[in-house]
């Protein structure tokens, strides 16, 4: 080290041998963060247990009451637990960094904030897809048991459209939660907003549509839940896709864009 070197000349950091943190590593770390706390682990366990419970209850009811069901009925009923808890997972993925103030550490280890958000986004999608795979397996088991236990023949009405629609449905549910979380950066507020959006708003939209003529016309364009309806039974038409895109833009893209812009500029405390 030369003692006479002017400050700032002789002591520059040598960055030549450091490569930027690869994106795959960020994704792996973000994935790890979803289950390495007690709260996160319990959320994942609850989602799995609740889904299994829903299926067992459904199976015992349909067998006991001698009802006629198919594979698809089993699959869609898992929507109950997953549509409820996957979005919460999406929300906590983002908001826990703020409520626990870990964003300070996360962003000082990787100052390229868009990459961190993209990694979280990808983890959200990955977990939604994993949940769907679990649901498919559980539904297969239940339908097979149904064929054995009940007097009916098991019906395997599984189409690519159904599965694709189901995956899309869960991924969108998760991402809607994620978008609300990015917008509000506060767990309770985002969860309440999501719950209102998913349980309360459809009823209000339905009421408005029944009362007001013009509202009935615009409803498909602004009611994202409504627009997702045909996804469940794989009956999306061209017009349905347009409704889906427009309402999705309002409920998914807009809050996500505003939220991400906010996170990128925010002072992290």
């Amino acid at each position: 080290m030369s003692a006479t070197a002017a400050p700032g000349l002789g002591h520059a950091l040598d960055l030549s041998s450091t490569s930027p943190t690869p994106f795959s590593r960020l994704v792996r770390v973000e994935l790890r963060k979803t289950w390495d706390t007690r709260a996160g682990l319990w959320l994942l366990i609850s989602t799995a247990v609740l889904t299994a419970a829903v299926m067992v209850i459904q199976l015992s009811v349909v067998v006991a009451q001698d009802l006629d069901v198919s594979y698809n009925d089993f699959l869609t009923s898992t929507n109950f637990s997953m549509a409820l808890l996957l979005p919460v997972l999406g929300i906590l993925l983002l908001t826990s960094e703020w409520s626990q103030r870990t964003a300070m550490v996360t962003f000082s280890l990787e100052p390229r904030r868009p990459l961190i958000i993209a990694a979280k986004f990808l983890v959200g999608i990955g977990l939604a897809v994993a949940a769907v795979v679990i649901a498919l397996v559980l539904a297969t088991i239940c339908n097979a048991l149904y064929g054995l236990l009940s007097g009916h023949e098991a019906v395997w009405d599984l189409g690519l459209g159904n599965v694709g629609g189901f995956v899309l449905l869960q991924v969108i549910g998760m991402l809607t939660g994620f978008a609300f979380a990015a917008l509000l950066l506060n767990s309770p507020a985002a969860i309440v907003l999501y719950m209102v959006y998913s349980f309360v708003l459809p009823g209000l939209f339905g009421l408005g549509a029944a009362l007001i003529g013009w509202f009935d016309t615009i409803r498909p364009w602004i009611d994202f839940n409504y627009a997702q309806g045909p996804l469940v039974d794989a009956t999306m038409t061209g017009e349905d896709w347009v409704h889906f895109a427009v309402s999705g833009f309002i409920w998914l893209v807009v809050p996500l864009a505003i939220g991400v812009a906010r996170v990128l500029r925010a002072e992290v405390k």
Partner: protein, 267 residues
């Protein structure tokens, strides 16, 4: 100073200190409900939504030329506030845990049940305040309705008023009870929305499919049991349903939760 051994001559002189009066605890807890940004916004949103809902209802009925009573205006506001009052109930409890202020709160008032009682009282006070606001805004809307649309209908029985009061309070306490049970904001909110919006549908489905469940359902479905409260037309059986299901959804979680808080190490 005398030379008595420590602990003998140096006992704390408590004779002139009064225990913290309950009223003071309530006032402090009330203040805590609005002195943070989150708390303030929650209250502001509740107030704003009451205004917005009744305003939208007024606009809709006037433009669509529909008949409306005073009671209808208030009921519309009640629908909206019943979503957020429970969240208020939840936040009253869990904010103390999420932010770790429970350490301070319980150090200043070690009689923990009193703290919870004060919080519940604050929840009820804020519920009543919301109701008062809904009534006043409804009054204005109904006056406007009378002016814009024709004669205002002031039908709003006392039975309806009390029913409104009780169901809103139950809604808030439902959130409060679940929050006490879970001591975690996210969990309490999720479970509350499931209990309030998803469970009634599932219970109805179960009741439709299975006879034995249909017989059991009224005893466990607190939401349906509150139905007759809106016009205070409860008969003996319905009182029974209300009490049993209320015990399951309000008293039980609250009791387990408080029992847990009393023994918990506060971190």
């Amino acid at each position: 100073m005398s030379t008595t051994a420590p602990g003998l001559g140096h006992a704390l002189d408590l004779s002139s200190t009064q225990p913290t009066p309950f009223l003071r605890l309530v006032r402090v807890e009330l203040r805590k409900s609005y002195d943070t940004r989150a708390g303030f916004w929650l209250l502001a949103v509740i107030g704003f939504l009451v205004l917005l809902t009744e305003g939208i209802v007024l606009a809709v009925v006037v433009t669509q030329d529909q008949a409306m009573t005073y009671g209808d205006f208030v009921a519309a506001a009640a629908f909206v506030t019943s979503i957020l009052l429970p969240v208020l109930g939840i936040m009253l409890v869990t904010a103390e845990w999420g932010q770790r202020t429970a350490m301070v709160t319980f150090a200043l008032e070690p009689r923990r049940p009193l703290v919870f009682l004060a919080k519940a009282t604050v929840g009820i006070i804020l519920t009543f305040a919301t109701i008062a606001m809904a009534l006043v805004v409804g009054l204005v809307c109904n006056l406007l309705y009378g002016a814009l649309q024709g004669p205002a209908d002031w039908e709003f029985g006392w039975a309806g008023f009390f029913g409104f009061l009780i169901t809103q309070t139950f809604a808030m306490l439902g959130g409060f009870a679940l929050a006490t049970l879970f001591l975690n904001t996210a969990a309490a909110i999720v479970v509350f929305f499931v209990y309030r919006w998803v469970l009634p549908g599932l219970i109805a489905l179960g009741a439709a499919l299975m006879d034995w469940f249909g017989t059991l359902a009224p005893w466990i479905d607190f939401q349906s049991a509150q139905g007759p409260l809106y016009d205070m037309s409860l008969d003996g059986g319905e009182w029974g349903h209300l009490i049993v299901s209320g015990f399951i959804w309000l008293v039980l979680p609250l009791a387990i939760g408080i029992w847990r808080v009393l023994r918990a190490e506060v971190k």
